[in-house]
């Protein structure tokens, strides 16, 4: 989507060649702009994935009703929290009285991985205003983060891609929550249509694009090994965070080493 010759996939950021203030990635990302066109392309690119995600929105709506939330409350949660896994866990924890601290802490812990994902967007987002950055980050979930990384890594310069792809996810997420909470279990399980595989498929596709030769191998093996080990030891989704941080630490140690 970019015609800028500077943004070349074959020359990824090589911080070792530059000083910290002006890293190579800064040069690579100068063409990043925030435009209506970026919102439109993000919206359209993510629309098919949003339809798949809606399968989960329906499931969440059903679960929320079973836990005693009204349709309006379930819709409100989808509209302002916009983080599927944590919402499903929250309504599973829901009881009377509501275990407020448990629900809020579980939400925070499950979503902590978004901090790492947001940090990974920094080389491109540093060219946007803070209003654009923080407005976009509200709409960031796993699926559109993956699509946005793919867009940027392949040389794209659409700074509004995350926002556009997030808006379509938000629309489908809220609408499908209302549908699920209203009609109940009539739709059936997402597994029946393979919808449960969409997130894994998005990430497999992204992994293919992020593969950058043998220098990628060590951090990926570290991330894979620690994540699988951590998934067996710790509850919830801590393994994503642990795997990501372990790989980054190894790279920090290996750097200049």
């Amino acid at each position: 989507m970019s015609t800028d010759p500077d943004t070349d996939e074959s020359s990824p950021p090589e911080p070792s060649e530059t000083v910290s203030e002006r890293s190579a990635s800064e040069v690579d990302t100068d063409s990043v702009t925030f435009s209506r066109e970026g919102i439109r392309i993000g919206f359209l690119t993510c629309a098919p994935i949003a339809i798949g995600v809606a399968g989960y929105g329906v499931a969440f709506g059903v679960l929320a009703r079973q836990s005693g939330l009204s349709v309006a409350e379930a819709a409100l949660m989808s509209a302002v929290v916009l983080a599927g896994a944590s919402q499903i866990v929250a309504v599973e924890l829901w009881a009377d009285p509501i275990p407020i601290a448990t629900v809020v802490f579980a939400t925070f812990a499950i979503n902590l991985r978004y901090s790492l994902m947001g940090a990974a967007l920094e080389p491109w987002f540093r060219h946007l205003t803070s209003k654009q950055v923080y407005g976009s980050l509200f709409f960031m979930v796993d699926e559109n983060w993956a699509l946005t990384m793919r867009e940027f890594k392949s040389g794209g310069s659409l700074g509004a891609f995350l926002l556009g792809s997030g808006i379509v996810l938000w629309l489908f997420w809220v609408a499908s929550t209302i549908l699920g909470a209203t009609v109940g279990g009539a739709i059936g399980e997402p597994e029946q249509y393979g919808f449960d595989f969409i997130l894994a498929a998005v990430f497999v596709a992204l992994a293919v694009e992020l593969w950058d030769g043998s220098s990628t191998l060590l951090p990926w093996l570290v991330a894979l090994g620690t994540a699988i080990a951590a998934a067996n030891v710790f509850p919830g989704q801590w393994y994503i965070l642990i795997g990501g941080i372990a790989a980054a630490l190894v790279e920090v140690i290996r750097h200049d080493g």
Binding site: T107, Y114, F125, A201, L249
Partner: protein, 106 residues
Amino acid sequence: MMGEEFLSLEPIVVAVILAMAAATIVTKVGGLWLLSRFDVSDRVEAGLSVLPGAIVVALLGPELAKGGPAEWGAAAVVVLVMWRTENILLALVAGVIAVVAFRSIG
């Protein structure tokens, strides 16, 4: 009446939902906010540069490990289609069709 129950917004429930939203927004903006506040050394930047791939692999590994041959086969289909066509939509559609097909066999 049913309509009231559908549209009711209990203050305590709304408060918990807003607290969840606040916690989530902190996680979504927190990482990038910290990065923009502090100068990062090139050593740290090298670590950050491997984050995208590392997060993808860390999320994917346990997800696929808890699946079975149907999921592994479908993941291989996604890799193959992605590698040959570089078309993400095609790869996703092929993966979802493959997982449904492999599950019906298994």
